[in-house]
Each structure stands twice: as structure tokens, then as C-alpha cells.
């Protein structure tokens, strides 16, 4: 999974001195990265648009004009506005030490001033991208299937099949008023089966049964940090049924991915307390 790192080297503002930018661009290429150079006099808007279009992992902003305190935070603001804040941003040029904390507060990962070596910069980019990637893998991987939801017209009719015919361990019943359902849980080798009966006609389960009949309704995956998970999904423009996770059965936090983003399966994510 060692994807080539893509970097945009950009010159924000009006200064035309690009020796440093060009040397870094060449240096990063020699370190095995794919480098795009923006050319001179780029506005923050142009830089962010290029970064998104080129799908880069890192933006290196080179600036010598003294306008860094205005232009660099503006790049960060626009990245956020375009939901691209996962891109690593570094800066370089004639930037006084005193300004560095201010720039870091705005999300610039590091500032390299004159004297920094190409190797140092390449290592920084590699380490941080790897860190980001590994964090992403951890958070996108689900722990396991938590349960399978099955819509039924009547629990009284359905429960005996799972309990007596299949012999699954019956865990109990519960009403979830937010969803307008009554649910019954069974245990099947570490995975649970959740039967859902609509309590009234407003329940989504009622509508589901009206439309498609009884049957598998959703798959639920257990995740670690559902809030973080949700923002990750939003960044990638995965359709979600709600903007924020909410409370589900057994004091869990739950949220749903729209079937149109998941090949026609309603997916629930849940985080156990």
C-alpha cells in the first residue's frame, strides 16, 4: 500500500523568486515523490483548486514577500471550506521565527526557513503522510459486524423461528421510541440478529415493509469513534442519512449510511459506550 506521495509546490502572492521552490520541487522528485509546481503569483483560491484537482497529499507554500501571515491562513481556510483539510500543508521561505506559532495555529504543519535541507523536508512529508494514512486506516476499518437487522411484521410471529427452530440465544426485547420500533435480539456466534417490528405507521420499518416486504433491513458495523468516522465519510462525500450520530438501542451511538453509497445496503455504524 505504498502509494506515491503527490505534492503541490506553490508560490502564493506576488514575489517572483522561485529558486527555493524549484530546488525543493526537484529535490522531492529525487526523493520519489510526484511534484506539481504551480508557477508564480498564485492566489490562495488557485492553489486550493489545483491541490484538489490534482488530488495531492501535501502542499508546500513558498513565500518570501512577507505576506505569509495573510496568505497562508487564507489557504488553510479555503482548504477547510472545500473539505480538503486532510491535505498536509507546509511552508517555507523568509519567515521570522516569531510568526511560526501563529501559522501553526492555523494548521500549517511545519515551516522550513532558509537552511532547511531537501532531505529534512522530504522526511517530514513522508512521516506525516504515513501517520495520516495509518490513522485513516484505523478509523475506516470496522471492528466487526455488530448485528444484522431484519424487518418483521410481528415479533410474536418471528421470534419463535429464531429462538426455537434455529436455537439462537435470545437476549431480550426493547422498544426504541426514536425509531418507532420494538426490537428483539439474538446472539449467533458473536454476531447479533436484531428483529425489528414497527410500532406505528410513521416508523421507517413500517415503510420499509410496505415497500419491500419483510427481510434483511440493515447491516450494523461496530466502529471506534463514530463522530470522527462520520466526518471522514462526509469529507469523502458518502451519503449519510443524518448529519450527526444519535442514540440507539443499548445506549449506543448509531448512524446510517445511505444505500445509494453502499451498493443498496443500508449500513448502520455503531459505537458502544
Amino acid at each position: 500500500m505504498n502509494k506515491t506521495i503527490r505534492v503541490l509546490i506553490a508560490k502564493p502572492g506576488l514575489d517572483g523568486h522561485d529558486r527555493g521552490a524549484l530546488v525543493i520541487a526537484q529535490g522531492l522528485r529525487d526523493e520519489g515523490m510526484e511534484v506539481i509546481y504551480s508557477g508564480l503569483r498564485q492566489t490562495p483560491e488557485q492553489i486550493v483548486a489545483t491541490a484538489i484537482q490534482e488530488d495531492v497529499d501535501c502542499i508546500g507554500l513558498s513565500i518570501l514577500s512577507g505576506a505569509h501571515n495573510e496568505l497562508l491562513p487564507e489557504v488553510m481556510r479555503l482548504l477547510k471550506e472545500n473539505q480538503a483539510e486532510e491535505i498536509l500543508v507546509i511552508g517555507g521561505g523568509v519567515i521570522p521565527d516569531d510568526d511560526i506559532p501563529f501559522l501553526k495555529e492555523h494548521g500549517i504543519a511545519e515551516i522550513f526557513t532558509p537552511g532547511a535541507s531537501m532531505k529534512e523536508i522530504a522526511d517530514f512529508i513522508r512521516d506525516n503522510i504515513e501517520k495520516k494514512n495509518s490513522k485513516q486506516t484505523r478509523s475506516t476499518s470496522v471492528k466487526k459486524i455488530d448485528h444484522i437487522g431484519i424487518a418483521v411484521k410481528s415479533l410474536d410471529e418471528a421470534v419463535p423461528f429464531y429462538k426455537e427452530i434455529l436455537g439462537l440465544t435470545f437476549l431480550g426485547m426493547e422498544e426504541v421510541l426514536d425509531e418507532g420500533v420494538k426490537v428483539a435480539f439474538f446472539e449467533a456466534g458473536g454476531v447479533r440478529i436484531e428483529l425489528l417490528e414497527p410500532l406505528h405507521q410513521e416508523s421507517p420499518i413500517y415503510k420499509h415493509i410496505e415497500k419491500r416486504g419483510e427481510g434483511i433491513h440493515h447491516l450494523a458495523f461496530e466502529v471506534e469513534d463514530i463522530v470522527d468516522q462520520f466526518s471522514k465519510l462526509q469529507e469523502r462525500q458518502i451519503s449519510l442519512l443524518q448529519n450527526q450520530p444519535r442514540r440507539g438501542a443499548h445506549d449506543t451511538k448509531v448512524g446510517f449510511i445511505h444505500p445509494k453509497s453502499s451498493h443498496k445496503v443500508l449500513i448502520e455504524l455503531c459505537e458502544k459506550n
Binding site: L14, G16, D18, R19, V23, R41, N69, D98
Partner: protein
């Protein structure tokens, strides 16, 4: 030899010229008159004046300008009071690219790397109580040079000084902007036309004015070698001369007012040799290629600045030493004018105190070292003469190559010059990182807890103040007159007429820099590098 082996297998200069263990007289003594001659005589290897610094020191000209016209005016008066003998104006980036301070492109840049000039109003403040007939002024302005020169002429007029008395230099070198510095506006062709318009106008109206300062400085800062610096600068100079001749000017009418601008880098003897070689090559070019008759057309006069890119943010006091040695090489190389950088320039704009040390460095060289007491003191040094010859040979070979491209403009358009510089810059960086090139305090002799000096900061409010001034100006001036002058300029730009008088009229009506540039942008188009 086996007991004490040499430090390196091979010794070479920054331009990869091999350096021998010892230089001997036999190569150097022949052809003295042809190769060196006498100072003040062709080929001017030993200097352009017969007495050089025995007559008068070089002009000590520190580049300064920042924030508002008021602030810069105060700094100029301070520097003149400290013994500086010429002014050198740094303009901010919006001014250099023809944007008014309230233009969206100017956001965050107003007053940062130089002074913000939007109209004649600002220029009047910039030179308030500085008599323009007494001081010579150099202005680092290129793409909009005609406009700033016009403002300077207008200020002089208001002071009662005739343009004929004005002395100074506008940088006005657009080709090196495409190569190395990036503050271009228009495509090369109309840019060259503006430059020849200035040549023509000044040849009669400002006879003491240097109409261009053909600049190797930025080429070197962009990473070129010493040889490339001379070669590419002279290639650009050839392009300007050809362009002026094509426009119908006679070579001797404008060539005496061409000036050059070089860098003084670290490698001491190579730098001295570089200046001497440049003079000799230019003299030959003017005599043999352009058939100049006037000796002044053959004399390469140059301003030198020490190398900003060699200064380190680490242990900034070391920069004082670097600057002193670089300045000394410029003096030994026979410069006419010198700017010494300040020790804190790798960190920010110089403070007043560090600008003073930089100026004092020149004064110490001039008054205390005695190197000014004879002309070309290193002339005849076996080593310096051999290096001068080697540099000359390599420069000619580059010039031939550029001629094969069809001249500097074509070589720039095809990216040849930029690629050569970039390659040299990259090699140099690798040499530093591998430790092949030692930079004291950076990759050797580092110290922990390196103390950073206090740095100068531009007040961020200057952008708003300039915008306010512009608002006021547009309310109070005669806007009908402004529009009239701008439309006359637009008409003239479409013909072959000399644009200087039209620009001057627009400036006097208080048209802004941005307004005038926009008129020209509409006619000429904008240059975009791929």
C-alpha cells in the same frame, strides 16, 4: 605530497573552472596590451577610468524602501545623513507589477518588500525635501519603469529641477524578470518597445540618466554560476542593443547610458575575475559587433550588490563578514556603485542598525584598507589573470550558443536559460547538503541556542492607509482630465509613437499606476509563463 595529501582531489570554482595548485607567469605576460591594456582604455579590463578610486570612491548606494512613502522618506534622509551618496529605491511588489494598493492582487503585500507608490502624490512625499539635482537615485523598477520614471520627472519639475539635471538609474531590465525575478506584466515584445521608448526619450530629455541597469544580480540569486551570470546578462544586453538599433536609434546615442548590475558572491578571486572579464567582453561586443565609436559606449559600468542568497538565518552576525568580503571583491573588481546587504536579511527587512553596519562596511573598505589607493591592484596576479581568461572563454561559448537560439529572447522563450540556472542552483544545494560546500554556521560549526536578532516589521495597517489615500485622490483630482490622458495613452499605445510623453501627461494628471498599467494591459496583453 604523499605525506601531506591535498584536502580535495580536485579544486574548482563555482563555475566549475579547475583551479591549479600554482599559477605561473608564462601564460600571462604575453598580449598585455591586447588583454589588459590600461585603466580607462580599451578593453577596460583594468577599469573604466584611468584613476579609479584615487579620483573618487564608488557610489555607496543602499537599497531601501518599505511601508509608506513617509516612512521611506525618513529612512532616506537618515541614510544620506550617515554618509550614503546615492539613493536606491525599493518598491513593493504591487507597485512592481503595476497594481494599485487597493487592488485585490495586492492583499497582504502592500509596503512589505518596498515602498508602495500609487500615484504622483506618493512620489512627492517619497522625495520631499530631498533635492533631486543633488542626489542620484536608483530605482529598482522594471515592468512599469516608464511610469515611475515619469513620476520622478514630475516631482523634479515641481521642485524646479529640469529633467536634464537628473541623474540616476532605472533598472528597466525586463528580460531578467522572465528569467529570474518574475515581476513581469506584458509579453516580451511590447516590453522591449517600452524600454526602447525610454532609451529614445532619455537620450534627449534626461542625458545624465542611466536608462537601464542590465542585471545579472537576480540571475545569480536564482542560482546561476558566475560564468552564467555574465553570459546571460550580456546576452540580454545584446538583445536590448539590437532592439534599440532596430527601432532606429544610433548605437552611440544610447549605449553610453547603459549600466549593469552584478552580484558579489563568496568565491573571492572568481568574483574579481568575473568583473574584469565582463568589462573586457562588453568592450569587444560593442566595438566589434555593434561598431560603436564612442569609447563610453564600450565601457561596462556597473553597480554591485553583495549576495543576499549567501546570507544565513543561522548565526546572522557571520553575515557581516560575508558581506565585507563580497564587497571587497566588488571593489577589487572595479565597481562604480555598491550595495552591501544587512546581516538580518535572511530573516526580514533590515533594521536601521543593521543597515548602518552594512554601510559602515563600505566606508571601512574605502577609507581604512588602502585597497582604493591604486587601480586594479590584482591586475597581473597570475591566478586572477588566468581566471579572467577562463571566464571570458566560457562566456563567449554561452553567447555563441544563445546566438544559435536566435538571441536572448528566443532562448528565454524556449526555457534554455532558466533550465541552465535551475540546474546550477540544484547542484549547489546538493553540494551544501552533501557537505562538499561548507557554509559556516549552516552545515558546519553550528551552535545550539542560536540567538536571533531583533527584526524589523512593517505595520500591517499600511495597506489600509494607502487604500484610503487612493479613495481621497480619486475624489479630489480632475477625473475628466485623467480619463482624457488615459485614452490618449491608449491610442498612442496602438501606434508606434513614443509612449513616454503620454505617460508623463497621465502621471501629472494624477492617474494612478494601476490605471496607467491597465490601459497598457488592455493594448499589450499580459504575459503568462507556462
Amino acid at each position: 605530497m604523499s605525506k601531506i595529501p591535498e584536502r580535495k582531489e580536485q579544486f574548482e570554482t563555482s563555475s566549475k573552472i579547475p583551479i591549479e595548485r600554482l599559477y605561473l607567469p608564462e601564460q600571462q605576460t604575453e598580449h598585455y596590451i591586447e588583454k589588459l591594456g590600461f585603466p580607462g582604455e580599451y578593453p577596460y579590463t583594468r577599469g573604466i577610468q584611468p584613476t579609479m578610486y584615487r579620483g573618487r570612491f564608488w557610489t555607496m548606494r543602499q537599497y531601501a524602501g518599505f511601508s509608506s512613502a513617509e516612512e521611506s522618506n525618513r529612512r532616506y534622509k537618515y541614510l544620506l545623513q550617515q554618509g550614503q551618496t546615492g539613493l536606491s529605491v525599493a518598491f513593493d511588489l504591487p507597485t512592481q507589477i503595476g497594481y494599485d494598493s487597493d487592488d485585490p492582487h495586492a492583499k497582504g503585500e502592500v509596503g512589505k518588500v518596498g515602498v508602495a507608490i500609487d500615484s504622483l502624490k506618493d512620489m512627492e512625499i517619497l522625495f520631499q525635501d530631498i533635492p533631486l539635482d543633488k542626489v542620484s537615485t536608483s530605482m529598482t523598477i522594471n515592468a512599469p519603469a516608464a511610469i515611475l520614471l515619469a513620476m520622478y520627472i514630475a516631482v523634479a519639475e515641481k521642485q524646479g529641477v529640469s529633467s536634464k539635471a537628473l541623474s540616476g538609474t532605472i533598472q528597466n531590465d525586463i528580460l531578467k524578470e522572465y528569467i529570474a525575478r518574475g515581476t513581469y506584466i506584458f509579453p516580451p515584445k511590447p516590453s522591449m518597445r517600452l524600454i526602447t521608448d525610454i532609451f529614445q526619450y532619455c537620450s534627449t530629455e534626461l542625458p545624465k540618466w542611466n536608462t537601464i541597469s542590465i542585471s545579472g544580480y537576480h540571475i545569480r540569486e536564482a542560482g546561476s554560476t558566475a560564468v552564467q551570470e555574465v553570459a546571460f546578462t550580456l546576452a540580454n544586453a545584446i538583445a536590448y542593443v539590437e532592439s534599440a538599433i532596430q527601432a532606429g536609434l544610433h548605437v552611440d546615442d544610447f549605449a553610453p547610458r547603459l549600466a549593469f548590475f552584478f552580484n558579489a558572491h563568496n568565491q573571492f578571486f572568481e568574483e574579481i575575475a568575473k568583473f574584469r572579464a565582463a568589462r573586457r567582453i562588453w568592450a569587444k561586443i560593442m566595438k566589434e559587433r555593434f561598431h560603436a565609436q564612442n569609447p563610453k559606449s564600450m565601457q561596462l559600468r556597473f553597480h554591485t550588490q553583495t549576495a543576499g542568497s549567501t546570507l544565513t538565518a543561522q548565526q546572522p552576525d557571520n553575515n557581516i563578514v560575508r558581506v565585507a568580503l563580497q564587497a571587497l571583491s566588488a571593489v577589487l573588481g572595479g565597481t562604480q556603485s555598491l550595495h552591501t546587504n544587512s546581516r538580518d536579511e535572511a530573516l526580514a527587512l533590515p533594521t536601521e542598525a543593521s543597515a548602518r553596519i552594512a554601510l559602515r562596511t563600505q566606508q571601512i573598505i574605502a577609507n581604512e584598507t588602502g585597497v582604493t589607493d591604486t587601480v586594479d591592484p590584482l591586475g597581473g596576479s597570475y591566478y586572477v589573470e588566468a581566471l579572467t581568461d577562463s571566464i571570458e572563454k566560457e562566456v563567449w561559448s554561452y553567447l555563441q550558443k544563445i546566438d544559435e537560439f536566435g538571441g536572448a529572447v528566443a532562448a528565454i522563450e524556449q526555457g534554455y536559460i532558466q533550465r541552465e540556472i535551475h540546474k546550477a542552483a540544484y547542484d549547489y544545494q546538493r553540494d551544501i547538503e552533501s557537505g562538499k560546500q561548507i557554509i559556516v554556521g549552516l552545515n558546519a560549526y553550528q551552535i545550539e541556542n542560536d540567538e536571533k536578532p531583533e527584526i524589523y516589521r512593517v505595520d500591517p495597517i499600511v495597506g489600509e492607509i494607502q487604500a484610503q489615500k487612493l479613495k481621497e485622490l480619486r475624489k479630489t483630482r480632475d477625473n475628466d482630465a485623467v480619463n482624457q490622458r488615459l485614452s490618449e495613452l491608449s491610442q498612442a499605445a496602438k501606434t508606434n509613437e513614443n509612449l513616454m510623453p503620454y505617460i508623463l501627461n497621465a502621471v501629472k494628471a494624477y492617474a494612478t499606476l494601476g490605471e496607467i498599467t491597465n490601459v497598457l494591459r488592455e493594448v499589450f496583453g499580459e504575459y503568462r509563463l507556462n
